[in-house]
Symmetry: C2
Subunit: 465 residues, 2 copies
């Protein structure tokens, strides 16, 4: 009971606070050179949390902390470290230490590390790996980046159809240490073609004498080595699988992708989507580890494209200087009009892009959606327009200008919502990433068209009134 | 081999195309009233895909297609349907049919359905459920929305410490049909306190005579019933778990959350983040099922806030009409300046908000990040400013105006990147969602300050030159 009470107190602070605590404690113990204390502190801590704590340590201490870990745990912690720290540790250690750890990593995690390491170091490590691990890594490295082949692991359990449940369980017992998962099992024929799948659940609930062939599921869902990693992750999520088999061109089973990797891929792909929506080219580099030059390079292209579009706005206004000289009041409403238009357009494009990216919407519904967004734009434009007419009249006392501003806002809102919803569809159809047609671009495109509309309405109104 | 070749051809079209094919075939067969054909078509199809195909059918056909499914599969398909179709089917069916299906759903999926159904129908169904299922549902419904308690399932396998591996496997065999997962097992004491966890992998690799107490992992990671669902999902992802135990205030085990639910929660929470970043209030309603009024309501509040901010910009420009009358050229550059500022700010806020939301960044790094972004803003501002000075001079031939525009662009870029990076941190610190300080708000805030800076620089320049 005493133990429970203690656990309860730990739980009453959040896991994040607990991680902060481990981090600060570890630093303190290492600073005082209390290695035994640090070792004891880390015993109950999860590998992912230890990795985070090590990442936060001053560089000189990272290797010391890492050496405190028992060997089995060291591998798991190493897999969880970010690539910069993995690399620093590799350079710190005596060769054999590194090799032992890299040799025992899962092939897919190792490939991810190799992707980040300088080629020279990769070659050196590859030479020293055990033949089996070298082969596994070389296999994965042979596939293109961001495909199922690159992220799969060849460490799975395969069974033959004609063995019994008892024999299958025996095989699992032998292989359990060397495989990524034992919960999904894959049935192959003599030519290694995938013929079915089986879960450990089905296996343990069957009678020992039954044949694998009798309880396995045929019609297995699988992906090819060249399937895009995002599609693999989405498929795993869609069917609530724990792992997905990967086959080569001859439909031979070559690996599996597990659900934990799928979650990481989804997060990475979502970050890319969000970056694209924010006008940033995404890369594999970590923000905290990339140079200022890299940060700027990933942003400057879009800014230049948008700047170019914006010069169009300037040119339009410039061409109307005569009108602006007559009615100076007109210019003060330009930012409000194009700003609001940009916001309405951003809302539409956000909804459409997200729907397209998570595949809740089929491109076939494009017209329905665009019409819907146009109506929403009209409703919102009318509401905002009514407010703006009043306000503009109070500010300027000029009815013609006030009505011009109000009408323009309605027109711009409709235009913006149509552009915001239609352009992502258009981009998807053309084979580009729909996320490119997000807030920054829509906002800027609306600027040019917005001022054109505004001046056209202004000229008409000034003639009428 | 013939079978393999056939499969291979199916694989050579993507899974998405395959789903489209099932959808169109199903519709065609039902239109021709070929029920046997439709039934055969659906046999090898995954429940998630059948659900999608049914959702796309005309309403009158949905119930017909659903009745074609064997009972076990019907439950899985029903769980995968969206709530509108679930509801429509409930109303279509004779009562007993519905009850059988709803009774067999997992409690967590049933609770999700009940959240969407009218209270009247929920009460009627609740009354008819088997006592055990009613209790499970009532338990979950007692917890607040978006907490671990609400999304967990009470269908897990618990073991006692003193039983043997052999006995444990026997118990799993008996319970396998009624539990959400058998891969993670939970060890409890007589008072149902969670004392440890065990994986089926560990169990099958142990010798039959070993005691559970000897092979289980103490120091289990767990969450409380009131833990936020996003934190639960993140923790599962962080530690690569397949399920996470949930305990009540007395640390008694009450349920588990499985990895497939975690993935759905992550997707839902990410959509909310992206909507907030796009200036849309997020709700649980589906875009395709919500009315135009709901769509407009979720957007109008932010538009009004932004409009209010924008009136500030108008007021500033209005106050400078005298200057604008003197130098009409000035007004044509306003959209370009505030537009570019908005884009630079959107980039900064995108990076910061995403890092805060996926917890790759600790709030403690705020100053480092803001300084970094300010430098990036300066670098980008200088590059763009240089281009703009040239272009403005070519367009207007007025050196004072050109220099004013260039200098303003540098100043506005720095301001925008600082605002874009600092405001999300500030909001996080104040306990608000940092995503509120995204592109739409940053863009609009930069508008006001941007024109102030621009006019200040213009006045200074015009005096100097």
């Amino acid at each position: 009971m005493a133990e429970n009470t203690q656990n309860l107190q730990i739980q009453s602070i959040s896991r994040r606070e607990l991680r902060e605590l481990v981090r600060s404690q570890l630093l303190m113990l290492l600073e005082r050179n209390n290695l035994e204390g640090a070792k004891a502190l880390l015993v109950p801590v999860q590998p992912a949390d230890i990795a985070e704590a090590i990442e936060e340590l001053p560089e000189a201490m990272q290797a010391i902390a890492f050496r405190l870990l028992p060997k089995d745990e060291a591998i798991e912690v190493y897999e969880n470290l970010n690539s910069a720290v993995q690399q620093a540790l590799i350079e710190d250690f005596k060769r054999q230490d590194v090799l032992d750890i890299v040799d025992k990593m899962s092939p897919d995690d190792r490939v991810r590390l190799f992707d980040e390491l300088p080629a020279k170091i990769v070659t050196r490590i590859q030479e020293q790996l055990s033949p089996m691990e070298r082969q596994a890594t070389a296999l994965l490295l042979g596939y293109e980046a961001d495909t199922a082949g690159r992220i799969m692991t060849p460490e799975y359990v395969s069974l033959k159809e004609n063995i019994t449940v008892f024999q299958a369980l025996d095989r699992i017992r032998q292989l359990a240490r060397f495989t990524e998962t034992v919960y999904y099992l894959y049935v192959t024929d003599t030519a290694r073609h995938l013929t079915g799948t089986l879960s450990l659940r089905e296996l343990v609930t069957a009678t020992p004498e039954q044949k694998v062939a009798d309880i396995m599921t045929r019609d297995a869902v699988f992906v090819s080595t060249d399937t895009d990693q995002e599609e693999v992750a989405r498929t795993i999520q869609r069917y609530d699988f724990l792992a997905m088999p990967v086959v080569d061109r001859e439909q031979r089973l070559v690996g599996i992708v597990t659900v934990d990797d799928a979650a990481d891929i989804m997060e990475q792909e979502t970050t890319e989507d969000i970056y694209t929506m924010g006008g940033i080219q995404s890369g594999t580099d970590d923000y905290f580890q990339s140079s200022l030059i890299t940060v700027a390079r990933r942003r400057v292209l879009w800014l230049l494209v948008l700047l170019l579009t914006n010069t169009g706005t300037t040119a339009v206004i410039h061409s109307q200087e005569e009108l602006l000289t007559q009615v100076v009041a007109l210019s003060s409403f330009i930012p409000l009009l194009i700003g609001t238009g940009g916001n309405v357009g951003a809302q539409s494009s956000t909804v459409v892009i997200r729907s397209l990216n998570v595949e809740t919407m089929r491109p076939g519904r494009a017209f329905w959606v665009i019409r819907r967004e146009a109506m929403a734009g009209a409703v919102l434009g009318l509401m905002l327009g009514a407010i703006v007419i009043l306000w503009a009249f109070v500010l300027q006392g000029n009815l013609a200008v006030a009505i011009t501003v109000g009408l323009s806002l309605v027109a711009i809102s409709i235009l913006a919502s149509v552009a915001g919803s239609a352009l992502p569809f258009l981009f998807r159809t053309l084979g580009f990433d729909p996320a490119l047609m997000s807030a920054p671009f829509i906002t800027t495109a609306v600027d040019v068209l917005g001022v054109l509309i505004y001046f056209a309405i202004a000229r008409a109104m000034l003639q009428v009134l």
